[in-house]
């Protein structure tokens, strides 16, 4: 069994080589810039620049927007996934396609269209005032940025969650409710625990990139919101201070990777031992156990 596992690990070899060649080495290039000053001497000042008031503020705003958007995406995605789940199987794939299709239109075109909808004299306000309400002042605000990010990332949250729970048979859920479980407890005790790995992927795909993306903030936020991505971009282009840009980038990466390593410990690894029948049995936390029992 252990030999089998070693063999399976080998499957990652092409990716390991690929990521060394095209992710890790380019990363080293960036890190070299990050730990030197403009004259090429070793310096940590670029990394420490992360804590200057301007940069720290941009970082906190990015964190705030990314967090809010991730939470909204999760809250919108679960009911959506539950609705799609209720459909017949072939309709299910059809509907999923429908939800992803908007993403295939170019990002900038979608954002400019969204701006036309949200702007002061925009389409939304035409409808709102047409109905006799006060026009909304959404344009160039944080709210508009959040709408934009949620719009762009919602399908990326939905897909992984949907995948993890699409296989739960209707019979399982019916059995659970026949045994007296309320729909809410079916959701919290069966569906939610089953979907955790998908949720984690979804959170990574939404939260992580939205920390550094700034185009949405520039278009929908009217350039009034400065994200850490703006600053990094500016250091690289306008001021051509690659050292500082790399330093900020490396510090951000460090922060995020450390932050994420905690989440890895919390909810990914415990699911492993369940499958390592032969491996050393680590303790599986309650949630996982319940879900498996519920499914079995």
């Amino acid at each position: 069994m252990d030999r089998n596992r070693k063999q399976r690990q080998l499957l990652a070899l092409p990716y390991v080589l690929w990521s060394i060649a095209f992710t890790v080495i380019p990363l080293l290039v960036i890190i070299r810039y990050a730990v030197t000053d403009k004259d090429g001497h070793f310096s940590v000042s670029n990394l420490l620049a992360f804590s200057t008031p301007v940069n720290a503020k941009a970082f906190l705003i990015s964190l705030e927007i990314a967090l809010i958007c991730t939470v909204i995406c999760v809250l919108l995605a679960y009911p959506l996934v539950m609705v799609v789940r209720r459909l017949r199987i072939s309709r299910m794939t059809f509907m999923l396609f429908f939800l992803i299709m908007p993403m295939w239109m170019n990002f900038i075109l979608r954002m400019l269209a969204l701006q036309m909808i949200l702007s002061n004299n925009g389409i939304l306000n035409m409808i709102v005032t047409g109905l006799g309400f006060q026009p909304l002042a959404l344009a160039n605000t944080k709210a508009a940025v959040i709408i934009g990010v949620v719009y762009d990332y919602l399908p990326f949250m939905m897909l992984p969650i949907f995948n993890t729970i699409s296989d739960i048979g209707e019979d399982v859920l019916e059995a659970a409710s026949d045994l007296g479980a309320s729909p809410l407890s079916v959701f919290f005790r069966v569906i939610l625990p089953m979907s955790l790995p998908g949720l984690k992927s979804g959170i990574t795909i939404v939260f992580v990139p939205s920390m550094t993306s700034f185009v949405i903030a520039d278009i929908l936020g009217g350039g009034k919101i400065q994200l850490i991505g703006n600053i990094i971009e500016q250091e690289f282009t306008r001021s051509t201070n690659w050292n500082l840009g790399s330093g900020l980038s490396a510090a951000l990466m460090l922060f995020m990777l450390v932050g994420m390593s905690f989440t890895i410990k919390d909810d990914i690894l415990p699911s492993h031992p369940v499958k390592d029948e032969e491996g050393e049995k680590k303790e599986a936390p309650g949630g996982e156990g319940i879900s498996r029992r519920a499914v079995l």
């Binding site: 036309m116 009217g222 703006n230 282009t237």
Partner: protein, 349 residues
């Protein structure tokens, strides 16, 4: 359809190899690096038809993006089109080679006035060929303003609070404040720059948005009353909304010129010169002018304009309206760094 996709995929794999093979053939080729949407594609086709020289053409969003990619050295560019202060920088770094523009057949089409402007960043006109130029000014909706617009003052006096759009780019924002305060936009005096910063910080609550590319459309659509824009954008804006007008404020502004350069490693300087000469030719310059609608330094084209067009400040600013204006040179590193820090502060405020 499927075949096409397969063909494209195959092309994708073969291109790097194909490029290597091409080097053995005597066919002449130029690699041209231009700013976005800055040449009529038909002009390129025409040049290849006439001379047999093929053009590999690439575009960059900004002068800075172009600099980054050029400096990396991965591609041997022959010709660059970039803005004034970047020309100065590339000359200072020895990246370009001198060109004898007097030998050009159509070089005389470029008016003396523009060669004179260009001496600010290219003394003696040794390296750069002026291509298009313009100013930075205010595009405003005549139906929404309460009085004459002729000064930067309207952006700072609070009268149009919430209806103003500023540029989301460092220099284009600071030049406005510096010029309004009566300073040179190339100032290196920290006190003057900080005064400009105070002004911009105080102005921020009145600003509806800081935009680059969408500034013009916001005024056209009526979402804002006025915007700081480049003159070429203003011309386009008025095409869409006749109620708009453009003004170069009386305090003066930035005068910008984009020019062509031949790189120091240019493989075929004769072909490069041929291309630049071709761009000065009346019909080609006319074609590009109609494609870009920025101010042209080509007098053959200017002479063909209607009186109305020639009186248009957005299209052909006369020397008088440019009197107080300067070309931005981004002189020294310390000043650029200070501006950069202040700009981050302003945006994060």
């Amino acid at each position: 359809m499927k075949k096409r996709i397969l063909a494209a995929a195959a092309m994708l794999l073969c291109l790097p190899l194909g490029a290597c093979e091409g080097k053995n053939q005597p066919a002449r080729e130029l690699t041209v690096f231009n700013l976005c949407e800055y040449m009529d594609p038909k002009a390129i086709e025409m040049f290849t038809l006439e001379t047999g020289i093929t053009i590999k053409y690439e575009e960059a969003l900004t002068a800075e993006d172009m600099y980054t990619k050029y400096k990396a050295g991965g591609i041997d560019y022959d010709l660059l089109c970039t803005c004034d202060y970047m020309v100065r920088r590339l000359i200072a770094e020895g990246e370009v080679q001198p060109v004898d523009f007097s030998s050009f057949e159509y070089g005389k089409n470029i008016g003396q006035r523009y060669w004179d402007y260009a001496t600010a960043y290219d003394p003696g006109n040794k390296y750069s060929l002026p291509y298009f130029w313009g100013t930075v000014g205010i595009l405003y909706d005549t139906t929404k303003v309460h009085g004459p617009i002729d000064s930067w003052d309207v952006l700072f006096n609070g009268e149009y609070s919430g209806e103003i759009i500023m540029q989301n780019s460092m220099m284009d924002t600071y030049i406005v404040a510096l010029k309004y305060l009566g300073y040179s936009l190339n100032t290196t005096d920290e006190a003057e720059i900080r005064a400009a910063q105070d002004l911009l910080v105080a102005q921020k609550p009145d600003v509806s948005a800081y935009l680059v590319d969408e500034a013009r459309d916001e005024v056209v659509a009526g979402n804002a009353t006025m915007a700081v824009v480049y003159s070429g954008e203003a011309y386009l804006g008025r095409e869409y909304n006749p109620n708009l007008d453009y003004v170069i404020p009386k305090e003066g502004t930035e005068l910008w010129i984009d020019s062509w350069l031949v790189t120091k490693n240019c493989k075929d300087p004769d072909a490069a010169k041929q291309f630049l000469d071709f761009l000065c030719r009346e019909d080609v310059a006319q074609m590009n002018f109609e494609y870009i609608y920025y101010s042209t330094p080509n007098e053959a084209v200017l002479n063909g304009l209607s009186d109305e067009e020639r009186a248009d400040e957005a299209l052909a600013p006369d020397p008088d309206s440019c009197q107080n204006s300067e070309i931005c040179l981004q002189s020294d590193a310390a000043t650029t760094e200070l501006l950069n820090e202040l700009w981050k502060e302003l945006r994060g405020n």
